[in-house]
Amino acid sequence: MRTIAVSEITGNIKEMCIEANYFLSEDMKRAIQEAAAVEEAPLGRQILEQLEENLKIAGEDRIPICQDTGMAVVFLEVGQDVHFEGGILEDAVHEGVRQGYIEGFLRKSVVKDPICRENTKDNTPAVIHYTIVPGDKVRITVAPKGFGSENMSRIFMLKPADGIEGVKNAVLTAVKDAGPNACPPMVVGVGIGGTFEKCALMAKHALTRPVDSHSPIEYVRELERELLEKINRSGIGPGGLGGSTTALAVNIETYPTHIAGLPVAVNICCHVNRHAVRVL
């Protein structure tokens, strides 16, 4: 049994909210840089170079990469041998988000009620996904999610007969409908299988995987490659203003499903695909 003070969770989440909004991860930076080198459209190249410049300025000026500093999505993988003390874990997570968004000059984009829409003024609450895992560690992923791209995400409850072609059509439809609204070049997170909510969660989680990594499952790896190629032939391009770089990666997760179903979720993220990871 290992004891962790919840104040440690708060402190880490606060720092991670700020870090994720000022600095993009190395894999994302490299992907944008590599895209700028091969983009066919002159305007597309110019936009990608501006995105690189934007990342540099964000780090130098300590200003968010994008003004939409997102709703804080937090994945907590908690070892089953961990005991938390000093307060309620969930409160500690929200408190970390509150401190991070206030002290980090991040935008407060969360409203208390989806219909009444009064701003909570501290960007809480976070959306928290817990998993209990073996061991005595806590792995925290903070992924602030912007809504330009979130709004363009989709779920498709396909039939088993739709098969892999149905999955491809679903992903390509979501990406084409998203077009310029989702701030391309995008990262496309896909969840296939499970249930209605499970596939959405996988699609979200897939966005936290490094964009230069590939699925360990062979047919999924091939599907990721094929979809990325097809998406980049769509012509949408950087900023949706035409070009050969529409997506930087397609990350897919799969799960067993029911004999009657083939759920597919497509969670689209803009080029500011933020995620900070720490293991306590």
């Binding site: 066919e40 459209a41 305007l43 597309g44 936009i47 501006q50 995105l51 410049e53 934007n54 990342l55 300025i57 964000a58 000026d61 300590r62 200003i63 968010p64 990469i65 994008c66 003004q67 939409d68 500093t69 000059f105 991040l106 935008r107 407060k108 984009s109 829409r117 701003n119 003024k121 912007g146 330009g148 709004n151 077009g179 310029p180 609204n181 701030c183 032939r233 769509s234 012509g235 949408i236 391009g237 900023g239 949706g240 203003l241 035409g242 070009g243 050969s244 803009c270 080029h271 500011v272």
Partner: protein, 183 residues
């Protein structure tokens, strides 16, 4: 083609812009996004005045992150324009001459753009840190209680935008994507 123009816009300048032009704006623009548009629409319905004159002005669909001490503004990139589409034709009919945002517009907006000789510009989405450097000053002029969604008056210098929809209704999102589509 690169062009340097001042804002507010007059009819002649708006008419001279073409979809695909890379334009640097200098002068005064106003921010308004979802909640401010809703309030402006309610004000119009009730016969009250708007926070600023629409005539010849440019609205930037943007809600900034908070400014650090000594800076005019925080990160300041465009938000998705289509959420404002419901309110936009009425503002264009009152003389609004330009909009800065990102993403597609409805057919109703396109018709109102053409009817009024207006222009729709895109700024690069997600480049809020870079764009903040072209904003010299920012002042909340209405709806302060909306926080980031308040209406702000911005002074900008060489603020970089691309003409997506010109006064003839040409749409760069359609033409450029067709050009690079390989299907």
């Amino acid at each position: 083609m690169d062009k340097y123009i001042s804002v507010p816009l007059d009819d002649a300048v708006a008419a001279s812009l073409e979809a695909g032009d890379y334009v640097y704006l200098t002068g005064t623009i106003y921010t308004a996004r979802d909640a401010a548009h809703k309030r402006m629409s309610e004000a119009l319905a009730e016969g009250r005045s708007l926070p600023f004159e629409m005539k010849n002005n440019v609205i930037y669909y943007m809600g900034p992150s908070p400014a650090r001490t000594g800076r005019p503004i925080g990160s300041a990139g465009p938000t998705t324009s289509t959420r404002m589409d419901k309110y936009t034709p009425a503002l264009l009919d009152l003389g609004l001459k330009g909009m800065i945002g990102k993403g597609k517009r409805t057919q109703e907006v396109r018709e109102a753009v053409v009817r009024n000789g207006a222009v729709y510009f895109a700024a690069v989405g997600g480049a809020g840190a870079l764009l903040s450097r072209s904003i010299i000053s920012s002042q909340v002029i209405a709806y302060d209680d909306l926080g980031t969604e308040a209406v702000r008056k911005l002074e900008v210098k060489d603020f970089p935008v691309i003409v997506v929809m010109d006064a003839r209704g040409n749409d760069l999102y359609e033409t450029a994507v067709r050009k690079y589509c390989k299907e």
